[in-house]
């Protein structure tokens, strides 16, 4: 009988050295079925979308860069940026208030967050648009004196103002919870170390707590940003000519409803994809503290033998 060694199989099984043979992944039957089914569905959809004349792709193409649409897009971008910026600032203030050890301050922030997270943003938008029914005149001044000024609420709460106020106040409530969550992720030992160095409350916040809370706040804020971009479509109910409302204005005239909704959707999609890039960059930046390479590694001047404890 032949002694069965590893070497002997080399000669019996083709010419390839068995040590160099690739190892192949096992594919289940389900995988093949999934490929076939999904491909069929994909092809079917593609054929339907490209052959159905009602999609009117030429109309979609024509309106993609139509001036009204682009102006609407600009307004959508403005509303997103402005309400996110203001909402984050207000949210930060609310988060700091909510973490306060002074009861009334924490309770005020808590009540705000409950109220604005607990009601639909669409209702809030319509409410701010109609707030002049509640307070016809907004007067700013020092109580019990004549100093001050009154503003006509109806004029102040133009659709865009109402949209901005509504989105900002709503966003602030969500951002406050995100930021507070980030704060509580910072270890107790960090705060004690800062305390033992004699750091003041605001110094601790700026130099120790916020920088360390960032890695958990940033990705969530990115999601909020993308969500906000789509949420702005709600303000179309106030008659603000943002992206969706601009599309609606056109199809109200031309009855090309679906093509214009596709135009708006494509723009929302493009912007969402563009926004996810800076988000991943920011995430990288804030994960630096745990990266393995020293920052400015080249600037290190070695005056003594490295790290030798005497």
């Amino acid at each position: 009988m032949q002694p069965t060694t590893i070497e002997s199989s080399e000669t019996t099984m083709s010419g390839i050295d068995p040590k160099l043979k690739p190892r192949l992944r096992r594919r289940s039957t389900f995988e093949y079925v999934a490929w076939v089914v999904c491909s069929l569905i994909g092809i079917g959809l593609l054929i339907s979308v490209s052959t159905n004349p009602n999609f009117k792709w030429d109309v979609v193409l024509k309106y993609m860069t139509y001036e009204t649409i682009l102006r609407g897009l600009m307004l959508t971008i403005f509303l997103t940026l402005a309400s996110m910026a203001l909402g984050t600032l207000l949210g930060l203030a609310l988060a700091v208030m909510r973490s306060s050890s002074i009861k009334p301050v924490a309770a005020t922030a808590g009540a705000y967050i409950t109220l604005f997270r607990g009601t639909p943003v669409l209702v809030q938008l319509i409410f701010w648009f109609n707030v002049s029914a509640l307070y016809p005149n907004l007067s700013i001044g020092i109580p019990f004196t004549n100093i001050g000024t009154a503003i006509d609420m109806n004029a102040l709460m133009a659709p865009i103002t109402a949209a901005l106020v509504g989105l900002t106040l709503n966003e602030a409530a969500y951002m406050a919870e995100i930021i507070r969550g980030g704060f509580s992720a910072v270890g107790k030992g960090q705060i004690e170390a800062a305390d033992s160095l004699g750091m003041s409350g605001s110094m601790k916040m700026r130099k120790v707590i916020i920088p360390q809370a960032m890695p958990s706040i940033i990705p969530a804020t990115g999601n909020q940003f993308i969500g906000m971009f789509k949420e702005t479509s709600l303000v179309s109910v106030l008659g603000v000519a943002e992206l969706l409302q601009s599309a609606q204005l056109i199809y109200a005239r031309t009855y090309e409803t679906i093509p214009l909704l596709i135009v708006a959707s494509l723009w929302y999609l493009v912007m969402t994809l563009l926004l996810s890039y800076p988000q991943s960059k920011l995430e990288q930046k804030y994960s630096r503290a745990t990266s393995r390479l020293p920052r400015k590694a080249k600037k290190v001047v070695l005056t003594d033998p490295e790290g030798i404890a005497r």
């Binding site: 960090q190 004690e192 800062a194 630096r288 404890a309 005497r310």
Partner: protein, 255 residues
């Protein structure tokens, strides 16, 4: 008024909820004294340290650090809490080294050491950086300034933490089990730095399980159990010849 690194405590009491962790603690630590506190876990030794640094407020009793009432000012009828600003000022004169190092992970080693002088005392950045480099060199970490804490070993992190506390020029240094979270082979490098510090005349209070350090470096030793100071005395004397049965039982187990 003396501000030369003394700690005096009389009848300090501290409770967390229903649990009393410190029961009438008296302490007298002279300037330049190296005092080790030993005892089983839960005996209140870390709490004593945290009270001296103001991380915990004592419930009652007299606590004078650097010759001043710590965290409070005395009137005829009561002790009133100091403003956060004044408390912070007192804290800058007491350095604290933690078991878990607690370096700021968002700052490099150099920035950690500079944090106190620059952010709290408003010192000049350049001068502070120079001083920080010197301090890092003095703990054997020259050239490690640009590393983040995550890139350093436990022993290196703890040495940075010591340098960070020293940067504030404190009169007193407190060590809360500084080597308990370290690999056994990294313990020596931290103890060596502490020994150097002791030679320079710093007042040090060290909560530790390192009996060797206590024997070689400490002047006095305090044994705590269940919130009481059970025994105190000359470090070598207590370790060699403990008087209280509770101390004897404890030392038998750890040595």
């Amino acid at each position: 008024m003396s501000n030369d690194g003394t700690i005096h405590a009389r009848a300090i009491r501290k409770s967390f909820g229903p649990k009393t962790v410190l029961k009438d603690i008296d302490l007298d630590i002279a300037s330049g004294e190296i005092c080790c506190i030993i005892g089983p876990s839960g005996s209140g030794k870390s709490t004593v340290l945290r009270c001296i640094n103001g991380l915990e407020a004592v419930d009652s009793g007299v606590l004078k650090v650097n010759g001043e009432d710590f965290g409070y000012y005395e009137t005829d009828t009561a002790y009133h809490a100091l403003s956060p600003k004044k408390l912070a000022e007192q804290r800058t004169r007491v350095g604290m080294v933690f078991q878990q190092f607690n370096l700021f992970p968002n700052m490099t080693a150099l920035e950690n050491v500079m944090a106190g002088p620059v952010l709290v005392k408003g010192a000049d950045k350049k001068a502070s950086a120079k001083r920080a480099h010197e301090l890092l060199a003095s703990v054997g970490l020259a050239g490690f300034g640009d590393y983040y804490p995550a890139q350093l070993s436990g022993g290196q992190q703890q040495r940075v933490a010591i340098a960070r506390s020293l940067a504030m020029d404190p009169e007193i240094m407190l060590f809360d089990e500084p080597t308990s979270a370290l690999d056994p082979e990294k313990v020596g490098e931290v103890l060596m730095v502490m020994q150097d510090l002791a030679k320079k005349g710093m007042t040090m209070v060290v909560v530790t399980h390192e009996m060797g350090f206590a024997r070689e470096v400490a002047d006095t030793l305090i044994f705590m159990d269940d919130g009481y100071v059970v025994e105190r005395g000359d470090a070598r004397e207590v370790l060699r010849n403990p008087k209280e049965p509770r101390t004897q039982a404890f030392l038998e187990k750890v040595i």
